[in-house]
Each structure stands twice: as C-alpha cells, then as structure tokens.
Symmetry: C2
Subunit: 186 residues, 2 copies
DNA sequence: GTGCACATGTAATGTGTTACATGATTAT
DNA sequence: ATAATCATGTAACACATTACATGTGCAC
C-alpha cells in the first residue's frame, strides 16, 4: 500500500463533486483558487492512472468492448472504494506535523468536508486545528520576540513577523468559522 | 545554465550570513522557522555539491593537497560568484506569477535583503508586492463573494475565505513594514 | 482551409524523500 | 564501554516539470 499525494486527493475530491474528464480537472486547476496544483498534463494524467489502478476512480466508458481510442474524451467517476478513501483521509486527526509542514493538505481536507462528513466533524477539525496552531504560534512568537528585540528592522525579522501574522489570521478565521458552524449544528 | 532551486538559494543565503557546514545548515532547517525546507541529508548534501560545482560556494579546506577524508567536517563559504548570484536573485522584480504561486521564494528573498541590498530596494520590493497581491486578492474576492452568496456555510467557501484573509494579513503587514522601512531610510 | 481550443498522452530530466551506511567525537 | 550525537554520504524510488506528439471539432 503506497502513499497518496495531495494532488491525488485533490482530484478525488473534485471527482466526488462531479464525474469529469482529465481536461476538465486541468481547467479547474488552471482557472480557480486551486491554481496551487499543477495543471500540466504530465502530472494530471499519470495521477489519474494511478487512481484508476488502485480502483478509486473508473472510466465510465469502460463497459464498451471495442478498443478504446486514447484520443477520446474519458469521463472519470469515483468508485465506492474511492469515496471510502477520500472520506477516511478527510477524517484523519489533525497532527502538529500537518499544521507545521503540510498546511495546504489540511485546508484541502477541510474544504472537502461538506457533503462527505457531518458538520460536527468539521467543528472538531477546527478545534484541533486551533489547538495545534496556537501552540505552534506561541513557540514561534517566543523566538520572534527575541529576534525583534535585537534587530527591530531587519528584513529577516520582518519576514518572520509576516509568517506569524498569517498564522494568527488563520487562528481567528478558525475561531469564527467554528462558531458559525456550531450554530448551524444545534 | 540550469535553474536554481529555492533550497539552493536558501542555502546560499545562510552561507552568506556565516560560513558553515552542511550539518550546521541542516540544524538550522530542523530547528528554526525555516522548518519548511527539508533537513534531510539526501537533499542538503547534493544541493551543496551542485552549488560547489557551479563555483558559488567553496570548501575552505580545499587548499590542502592530501586526499580529503569524506567523513571530515567541511566548512563551506560563499564565493564572489555565489554572492553575485544571490544578490541578483534577491533583486529580481516581483512578478504576479511569484505572488500567486511562489510565495515562499518571495518571502525568502525579502528575508535575505538585509546586508545585501540597500533598504530602498526592500521598500521597492514591498511596493511591488502590495500592488500584485492586492490585484490578485481583488480577483479572488470577486469569485469568493459569488460563492458565498450561494453557499454561506460550505466548508469549501470557508476554506477559500481563510486563504483570502491570510493574503489580506500579508497586505497589511507589507504596508506597515514598508512605512517603517521608509522612515529609517530618510 | 487555417487556426484555435479541445483532449490525451509520452519521454527526458531533475529533485526531494526515505532509508541505509559509515565513522568520529563526546558524555555517562 | 556504550550510547548518543556529530557529520557526511549513497541508492532506490516517486513525483513534478517541461517539452513534445497526436488527433478532433469548430469557427471564420
């Protein structure tokens, strides 16, 4: 059992919303806020074939017996196994490691929660996120204050400050989002 | 002439601050806010050898004639060519592409400005950064408002909001940092 | 009928990851 | 003595990037 890349989960999540072709997926990556993921054919198509090989997605035209023309549009859809894998990934616990190093994957998981897991899971996710993030920010802030006292206008210190302020923005987003979600649950 | 990775520039910048060994550099990546960069030997040592091959860094012990024991501590220092390459990279114009897709590289360049380029360059950098970032956020915000009006509590929309709020935090950081730097210039 | 967007794919290349290997030095 | 840390390195592997290749369908 090999590991699954964030790109692969990104594709799974999009296919969960709607069965579509590799080209459609590329367009989404190229034109929406998911720009972060590469829209190059050299990344998308091989990733789709890996998912197909694992049985997580399937080509709808597969049923037909005649040899498939590789130049024809192929529409992919999530299989049951694929949905199971996606939901399992979404529900994984929030670790410090992810908060520190794999931010993008965390946000993607949260973005894909709607329609796949109950809202209470999203609330729980945010609570864990807040806890881990707050702990990490506190650590960084200690380092930062020490640096700032020595070199108040050093660009390195300013860059550091930017990172911290971004994390604090995330923290306050998480708190407000959780409050709003919690309201809608009750 | 091949491209230079962000990791390679990160190493150059650290060596600019202080001549040191690969192990020292790994420690920095492992323990400071530069965690983002891998501290694995499989990334650092090959990167150092690439930089050495390009003549951007040099082993201080190179002068000695006897065959070098590969298990001995090697202290690397920036060469003049390396400093030139670093300064050229730092001074590159801020492009929309970098703002949208290569955030980390941008912040690294800014962090390394102190001591390598005049403060006026840092101010200019921030001004360009603000312009490109503001334009991009405005685009995203248009998409976002449309989504929000349809699905106010969708986790995908909330995740999108988090991204926008982070960018806005960066924007206000840039404005405040620029004001402070501008004061110190005059 | 020429050009463009659609649509899928392959090949070469380079880099990061993981795991392993080696030996020196320091602390207990 | 022995364990941990210092210190550098290699090898296998997978993935993303870039560039290229191929062909369809539509608009003008």
């Amino acid at each position: 059992m090999q590991t699954t890349t964030t790109l692969e989960y990104a594709l799974l999540g999009l296919l969960r919303q709607k069965a579509q072709s590799g080209y459609d997926l590329r367009k989404t990556f190229a034109t929406t806020a998911m720009r972060h993921y590469s829209d190059s054919p050299g990344s998308i198509y091989p990733a789709l074939r890996r998912l197909e090989a694992r049985g997580w997605i399937a080509d709808r035209g597969e049923a037909s017996t005649e040899p498939r023309d590789p130049r024809k549009r192929r529409i992919f859809a999530l299989t049951e196994a694929g949905l199971k894998a996606l939901v399992a990934w979404i529900g994984e616990p929030v670790t410090r490691d992810e908060v520190v190093l794999r931010e993008a994957a965390l946000m993607l998981r949260f973005a894909y929660m709607d329609g796949n897991v109950p809202r209470s899971v999203a609330c729980r996710f945010l609570a864990d996120f807040e806890r881990e993030k707050a702990a990490y920010v506190a650590e960084l802030r200690a380092q930062f204050e020490e640096m700032r006292s020595k070199f108040p206008l050093h660009t390195g210190v300013l860059a550091f400050q930017s990172g911290i302020e971004q994390m604090e923005a995330q923290l306050s987003w998480a708190r407000s989002a959780r409050a709003r979600l919690a309201e809608s649950v009750s």
